[in-house]
Each structure stands twice: as C-alpha cells, then as structure tokens.
C-alpha cells in the first residue's frame, strides 16, 4: 500500500506572474459584504473599549452595580415622563458631569451618544416641524403660496411654515432621546458586563435567564469572528461588488452554516457544563457589598428623578 502525495494539477502550478496586478481604473463599490464585515469589527472594538473604560477608577465605576443600575433606571423613567425642555437639558448636563467624574472622555462620550441615535431622531422628526406635515401655529413662514395648494384629496394649506408645536415637539424628542441614550451609555461604559448581569438579580430576573444572557454575550464574540471570517473569505475571492442575488444567497448560506456550527457548539458547551457539575440550576456567588456611599448615590438619584418629575409638573 504505497500512497504518494497527491499531484497538483497543472493549472495550480502555473504562477500568475511576479508583476503587480494591472489596474483597471474601475472603483469597487462598498458591497453589502464589506459593510457587514465593518459592522462586525465595529461591534468587537466597541466591546473591548467598553471593558477598558469599565476598568478605570471613576465615580460610577466604584459604585455598586445594583445601586448604579437602579439609580440610572429611575432617572431614565424621569426622562421619559418630563416634558419641559429645560429640565431635560438639565438632566443632560448631569449625565455629562457624571461622565466626566467617571473618567470617560467627554469628547468620546458625546460622540458615542450623539453620533447615531439622536442625530437619527433629528432626521426623522425634521418633517414634523412643517405645517404641511403636522398642523400647528406657524412660527416662521418660509413660503406663502398665496392660494390653497391641493395634492389630490389633501390640502397643503396656503403657506409652508415651521410651526411652534412642531419645533417644540422636535426639541423634546431629540433631548429625550439624547438623555435616555446618555444614561444607557453611562451604565454600560462604567460597568463590567459580568457585574451588570449580577445587578439584574435585584430586578428579580431569574438566574437561568441571567446565565443565558451571560453565555449569549460571550458567544456572540465567537460567532461574530466565525461569521466575519466567512465574509472576509468571500470578499477575498470577489473581484467586483458581486451581484445582489449572489450576495443574498451567500448571506443565507452563511446563516445556515452558522446555525449548524452554533448547534454543534451548544452541544459541546452543554457537555463542558455538565462535566463541571451543572444540573440545570445555576448557582451564583454572593455578589457585592453595598456601602454607605452607594446607598447615598442611589438615594440622590431617586430624589433627583422625583424632583425632575415634580418640577416638570410645576413648570408645565
């Protein structure tokens, strides 16, 4: 039984040549595949960076995660209830102060908060400030049509104007979104994921759910790198942007592959857990010790939330 090494086919031996590939002058458009890879890389970077900030010694990092999450949740609710732009602005200023005293660079914090969600909210809410979209008292008239303009069955009125209500509503929405996102970002930037999970127990989240949450988060990174490898391998084989049809097929088959791998993985993890004594009932260590300063901070946050809502009722 003598087997020799497999012989390579002729086309595989012929080299493409030592010259640099010729340019064709055509630019590649960023394909869906590339956008996916970038999105995944961004998610991975975000997590690494968050862990680094959570490890710093700042005001919120030192606070007991349970006190911190309860306090921030109270403020989040207050931000959802109040309707005075001034109070929302005050709350926003407070989140900036909290970020600064927790050694989060303000430039980074503001960028992180504003870059996506509130800016997006602004774009969405923009049309609603005009009277043609939403009725209201005109504040600035941009263009007087001089007569009633009709678009089929709809009347657009006699002028295009920015309304008082539209502007106020837009301001409230954007501020509210900004405060909410700031509070959420503060919580997640200054808390290690494992501590945040333990804090969930005070909201009566069942242990097994906490365990699932922690494992899901951990394996997102494994699956992300698996998926990102698949997409990278695809990109390296693609010359042009690839037809959307092929890309859709590729996305679907990668989902299938990933689902298969996930299934194998979950079997292995289960075996590893059972081997170390898991019988379906998760156990946890005594998590943290609540100190006076934690309680003080929690009480302060609760009072602040109540004051904000109360003040809002007085002003509004």
């Amino acid at each position: 039984m003598i087997e020799t090494e497999p012989t390579l086919p002729r086309w595989m031996i012929a080299a493409a040549g030592a010259k640099a590939p010729a340019t064709s002058g055509r630019r590649r458009r960023r394909s869906a595949v590339e956008r996916t890879i970038q999105g995944m890389a961004h998610a991975l970077r975000t997590s690494v960076f968050s862990e680094q900030i959570a490890a710093r010694q700042g005001l919120l990092q030192r606070t007991d995660p349970r006190a911190k999450s309860a306090g921030l949740l109270a403020l989040l609710m207050a931000a959802a209830i109040i309707r005075t732009p001034l109070l929302l602005l005050t709350l926003y200023a407070l989140t900036l102060a909290a970020a600064a005293s927790s050694r989060v660079s303000l430039r980074f914090f503001i960028k992180r908060v504003w870059l996506f969600i509130p800016v997006f909210a602004g774009v969405i809410v923009l049309p609603s400030i005009f009277n043609v979209v939403k009725a209201g008292d005109p504040l600035f008239t941009i263009w007087s049509f001089g007569h009633e303009v009709r678009l089929g069955p709809w009347s657009l009125g006699t002028s295009l104007a920015i309304t008082r209500q539209g502007l106020a509503g837009a301001a409230i929405l954007i501020l509210r979104v900004a405060v909410s996102v700031s509070l959420a970002v503060l919580l997640t930037l200054t808390t290690r994921w494992s501590d945040l999970l333990k804090a969930l127990r005070i909201f009566y989240v069942p242990r097994v759910f906490v365990l699932i949450l922690s494992m899901a988060y951990r394996y997102i990174f494994l699956l992300l790198s698996l998926a990102s490898d698949m997409f990278t391998a695809r990109r390296s084989r693609m010359v042009g942007p690839g037809s959307p049809r092929d890309d859709r097929h590729f996305a679907a088959s990668s989902m299938g592959t990933l689902l298969g791998k996930s299934s194998t993985l979950s079997d292995e993890i289960y075996a590893a857990m059972v081997s170390r004594g898991f019988n379906g009932e998760p156990m946890t260590m005594r998590p943290f010790r609540m100190r006076t300063q934690d309680l003080l901070l929690l009480v302060a946050a609760l009072l602040l939330a109540i004051a904000a809502v109360g003040g809002d009722r007085l002003l509004g």
Binding site: T46, M77, R218, L223, A227, A252, Y270, M273, G280
Partner: protein
C-alpha cells in the same frame, strides 16, 4: 424596527413590559419542560446566533441593504418558545451594549420582535408545512411565508405603537411629547417598505437558510431539538384569540381614553357624518373608568394621578394577559 427610548410614552412602554412578563414566564416554563437542562446553552447560542445574523447586511434592489431579523428561522429550529427567550436575550444585549433600541422600550421591542414575530412566523410555518417531511418543499416555503408574515405583523405593531403617541400624549397646544407622527403617517411609512422590500428579504433569506439546512443539517429541522409543543388544532384558535387580545386590549385601553386623538367621536362625525353606535357607547364607558390625563386641575392630571392611571392600566392588561395564559394552560392540560 428597534424603537429607541423617547419615541414612545412610559405608559406604552410600561404596558408592553407588563404584557411581556407573562409571556416570558410561559416561555420559561415551556422551555424548561421541553429542553430541560440543555436550555441554557442552547438558548444562549440561539440568542448569540440571532444577534450575529441581525448584523448581516443583505443587499436589496436599489443599491442599499437591509438587516434580517431571523426570528422565524430561530423559531423553526429551536421551537417558538425557546425563540422567544433567545430573541429577548439578543434584544437586551443590543439595547444595553449597542444602543439598538431603548432600555425602557425593551418591553415594546420584545413584544414586537421576540414574541409576536417568532410566534406568528412559526405558526404560519407549521400551518403550511404540517405533515410534510423535513426535506419537503413545504418546509422552506412555509418558513419563507412565515418569515414574511411574521415580520410584517411585527412592523405593523411598531407603526401602531409609535403612531398612537401624538394623539395620546401632547401638551395643551398640541406639541407632541413623544413621536410626532400619527397612525396615518406611521402605518404607510412602515408598511410600504416592509411589505414591498424588507419582508421579501427576510422571507428569501429564511427560505434559503432552511434549504441549506435541508441539505446540510437536516437534524436541526427534524425536530430533534425543536421539541415543538404539540399544538393540536384545538389550541390554534385559542392562541390566535390570545394574540388578538394581546394586541387590541391595551390599544383600546390607551386609545379610547384620551380620544382616538384626532379620531374622537366629534372628529369622526365631522369626517364621516355619523358616529358608530358602539364607539359612542364605549368612549363614555372607558373615560368613566379611566379618565384621561389631559384634564387640567383634576386628580388625574397630578403626578400621583398620572402614576395611578398608569398603574391601573398595567394591572388590567397584566391581569387579562395572565388569565388568558392560564386559560391556555388549562386547555392544554385537558387536551
């Protein structure tokens, strides 16, 4: 599809949280019974998988791309109730870490994408594929149609939840406190794109993924892990009834009280020239038990009143949902 914080009122968000509690409770029990000890790793990986495929950009005609939710695919492989938990976990992680969807809005987002979407998708799939072999064409067709229907129902719910805000929550002079667009704007905006494009993307990708599984990982479709609850034909109408109730009870509670916003009986008379008899009766009935927030000076416009009316609303919704779930449980046991 992910609603951020600030777009919907705390009452809406809270109501949907309250509705999710019995759903999570039921899902937890079902999963514990069907998957037993394996539930933790299986559901966790299911959640991680969902999270990752939500990051896939899928090209759509016109040069842009959309994201798939994959909820129906997860429900088809893990079973509907395990999918509820897996999708919830994925949404919680997205909200906490990547700012996709708000924290107070987790209840709403879970209701739309982690409950209605997989359940609707799954039962449509079952309806179409019932009795077919795991390799049969009805499997992928059913999964594709299920994904399309599930996604669109879910998008419609988003449009409803966001669209009822301006009518319900505005200041005396009409300034919107949350999302400013009414139902007549949110429904066309959401449904146009979901019915014509995104729904087909979801359907196509789900169907193709199921075809892939039929070729390469048939075990995942054969129901070895899915352990679907044996939903006999008698359970289905009940389930649909529950779904309808879950959707309309809170809407009714929230909407009829303060006016159908622009759709108050007066409005309707102006527009249509008549008021449906039932509506007239009901608007009186509702404002009797739950006076609206807008009246200045009354108890109900003060802070405790505000809280109290929210709490009453939540209690009613929660109670009804809980009863419905209990009822389902009982029928199931006697099955």
């Amino acid at each position: 599809m992910h609603i951020p914080d600030g777009y919907i009122s705390p009452q809406t968000a809270g109501g949907l949280w309250a509705m999710m509690v019995p759903v999570w409770y039921t899902a937890g029990h079902k999963v514990k019974r069907t998957l037993r000890q394996r539930q933790a790793p299986l559901v966790a990986i299911g959640a991680a998988f969902t999270f990752v495929i939500m990051m896939f950009n899928i090209p759509v005609p016109g040069g842009t791309s959309a994201h798939a939710v994959g909820g129906t695919l997860v429900a088809v492989t893990l079973g509907p109730w395990a999918a509820v938990i897996a999708l919830t976990v994925a949404l919680v992680i997205q909200a906490l870490f990547f700012g996709d969807g708000g924290i107070l809005a987790i209840g709403a987002n879970c209701f739309n994408m982690a409950f209605i979407l997989p359940i609707v998708g799954y039962y449509v799939y079952r309806l179409i594929s019932a009795g077919s072999s795991p390799r049969g064409a009805r499997r992928w067709i059913g999964a594709g149609i299920g994904a399309y229907v599930g996604l669109n129902v879910s998008a419609f719910l988003v449009a409803l939840e966001v669209g009822i805000q301006p009518g319900l929550f505005h200041t005396a002079n009409g300034t919107a406190l949350y999302s400013p667009y009414g139902l007549s704007q949110t429904i066309p905006a959401m449904m146009l794109v979901h019915l014509t494009v995104i729904g087909f993307v979801e359907a196509g990708v789900t169907a193709l993924a199921v075809v892939y599984l039929q070729r390469a990982r048939i075990g995942l479709l054969a129901g070895e892990k899915a352990a679907a609850p044996a939903a006999g034909p008698r359970l289905r109408p009940l389930l649909i009834g529950l779904l309808l109730m879950l959707i309309f009870v809170p809407l009714g509670l929230l909407a009829t009280a303060t006016a159908w916003g622009e759709w108050s009986p007066e409005d309707i008379r102006r527009r249509f020239g008549f008021i449906p008899e039932g509506m007239n009766r009901f608007s009186g009935f509702w404002s009797g038990i739950l006076p609206h927030y807008g009246v200045r000076g009354s108890f109900w416009s003060s802070v405790p009143g505000y809280m109290a009316s929210a709490a009453i609303g939540l209690a009613i919704v929660g109670g009804l949902t809980f009863l419905a779930v209990k009822l389902i449980h009982r029928t199931k046991k006697s099955d």
